[in-house]
Amino acid sequence: MRLHEYQSKQLFAKQGVPIPRGEVAETPAQVRAIAEKLGGAVAVKSQVLVGGRGKAGGIRLAKSPEEAEQLAAGIFELEINGLPVRKILVDEAAEISTEIYLGVTNDRTQGSPVLIASAEGGVEIEEVARTHPDKIARAWVDPLIGLRDYQARNLAAAMELPRQHWSEFSQMARGLFDTYWNSDATLAEINPLVITRQDQLLALDGKIVIDDNALYRHPELEQLRDLDEEAPSEREARGLGLSYVKLEGNIGCMVNGAGLAMATMDVIKGLGGEPANFLDIGGGAAAEKVAAAIQIILADPEVNSMMFNIFGGITRCDEVARGILMGLEQVPREVYLVTRLVGTNEELGRKILADAKMDTASSLVEAAEMVIEAAKMGVTE
């Protein structure tokens, strides 16, 4: 689960990380009021859960409350990478002298958190990693012992941060790490961490991603969830215990197992088709779940054909077959369907589908070829 900039910075501030004074508004008038309260120049920042806000014009600087209101009105009209702007953070503008990057994430290979710092702040760290790998300093944190003060010093030294800022920098690194660790984050970053002309260190922008599997122990964070983060269909699927990712194509896919679902999409794509989604019904799904999954896939108007690829282990093919029929009953439009069933109760499942006069295939590639041809013919009514 990804948090908004303003939510992230508030969590940082709770761990002692200095952030600019600021508040969140939902209307241009509120933006103006906040700007008046803050006094002076302000940053007007759209709060949407995608990257590229700056490029899209979602972050602007205003010299006066009037200008802030005016800019905000424009920003509230924006849709950034498909997401509407519902909230704007109004922050006191900082006079920036230096921009630094400071982040912490999980290093999968090491199996430990890694703190990453770079004197090249303000741009995406991946960009820095590509162009100036030598400008990135890392400190791996032993998960059993936690961040040590010297690790922050080592980073400061590696960045050649002027020594007068070390102590403040170390405190920010500590605050960032504690936020990350205490909230079961998979990523927490301050970018840019700025040194102001007044020689203050400040977290100007922030980002936190929480491990969904650990949310159960952070009910207070679950409440921060922005429902706009996901497409409504993805949200609905999550509620049903399904993994669903909407894509741009016209061939719906329903598969059991994430790897097999990806492979199925790959095969469709490889043979010239366009998958409309990723959908994993998980292991041992009952007919009702299969039926619900079909509803979600077919709610996408682009979908004109569908492929079921089920490799029955725990999942029983007959149960899936029943679910398919159940799901289709509730769908008022006709789409081409092909089903490939292998494994537990395979014969039973095939028979159910054959009785309903539905196409079945014996191999993944064969099924993909059938659905692609149907999709190209445009079976949609």
């Binding site: 999980n106 999968r108 290979t109 199996g111 430990s112 958190p113 760290i125 991946e126 990693a129 590509r130 032993d142 998960p143 059993l144 660790w181 079961d184 998979t186 491990d211 969904d212 599997n213 650990a214 159960y216 122990r217 993994s243 990712v245 894509l247 598969v255 059991n256 197992g257 994430a258 790897g259 097999l260 679902a261 990806m262 492979a263 999409m265 790959d266 095969v267 469709i268 794509k269 490889g270 998958p275 990723f278 994993d280 292991g283 490799f311 029955g312 282990g313 725990i314 292998v342 494994g343 537990t344 191999s363 993944l364 590639v365």
Partner: protein, 287 residues
């Protein structure tokens, strides 16, 4: 003959009285696995599966009574971290965590601790191990693989079954199939399994099934090019996956520009690995 498990492996099932644990313990028994004990705190003294398997309150007691040397976990995600440590502390040398959804922080601690203690962890969020005809420690359907000379290692579940099935259809058998799981932090990684297959005299070739996310396939490619003599055939799932979206598995996500399928395929190919276009194409690449 195999790696990690064989007919002499004595399996303990943690969480044996749960729905999943009981079902799969029964499947393992049917397959011929020596399921010698189960553990569920508070259920010690019971017997399950027609009185064939005794249940203990603690792993310590289960080990003392049965000499189990492998534990398969079906414990809910909240308690899985603790259960893995319990198994390791009690002296189980091989711990296989089937459970999905274990928090990453728990896994970082568990992996570090079990590494220190010299405990081999497989998983979490994995289908476990299968040595055809000898032992099944996990949930891989037994009948889709025959004994043979191909080692299989995979981050996936049903995709692995698909590959095993394709091998079987092509008349190719397997030494051991290792499901290392789809989480970002795994106990056993590709390189570990590849090393074991390289060292196993009965394994003649290895099939490796990767997916988007992380850099383990790239590390495997390095390992293959520097340290492997046996041929490796790979398939990488997720070529059509969009960046920034988690594809079912916690670990299957392209983020910060890393973890792309194309990069993995390229790395493997330059290490001399044949990469299959689809899972069903794997058997012919082994010839």
């Amino acid at each position: 003959m195999s790696i990690l498990i064989d007919k002499d492996t004595r399996v303990l099932v943690q969480g044996i009285t749960g729905r999943e644990g009981l079902f799969h313990a029964s499947q393992m028994l049917d397959y011929g696995t020596q399921v010698v004990a189960g553990v569920t705190p508070g259920k010690g003294g019971d017997w399950v599966l027609d009185g064939k398997v005794p249940v203990f309150d603690t792993v310590e007691r289960a080990l003392a009574a049965t000499g189990a040397n492998c534990s398969v976990l079906f414990v809910p995600a909240k308690f899985a971290g603790d259960a893995m440590l319990e198994a390791g502390d009690a002296g189980v040398p091989l711990v296989i965590c089937i459970t999905e959804g274990v928090p990453i922080q728990d896994m970082m601690k568990v992996r570090r601790y079990l590494d220190q203690e010299g405990v081999r962890l497989v998983g979490p969020n994995c289908p476990g191990l299968l040595t055809p005809g000898e032992s099944k420690a996990g949930i891989i359907p037994g009948r889709i693989a025959d004994l043979g000379s191909i080692g299989v290692v995979s981050r996936s579940g049903t995709l692995t079954y698909e590959v095993l099935y394709a091998l079987q259809q092509a008349g190719l058998g397997v030494t051991t199939c290792v499901g290392i799981g789809g989480d970002p932090i795994s106990g056993t990684r590709f390189t570990d399994a590849l090393q074991m297959f390289e060292d196993d005299h009965h394994t003649e070739a290895v099939v490796m099934i990767g997916e988007i996310g992380g850099e383990e396939e790239e590390r495997a490619a390095d390992f293959i090019s520097s340290s492997m003599t046996k041929p490796v055939v790979a398939f990488i799932a997720g070529q059509s996956a969009p960046p920034g979206k988690r594809m079912g598995h916690a670990g299957a996500i392209i983020e910060a520009g890393s973890g792309k399928a194309a990069d993995k395929v390229a790395a493997l190919q330059s290490a001399g690995v044949s990469v299959a276009e689809n899972p069903e194409a794997i058997p012919e690449l082994l010839n």
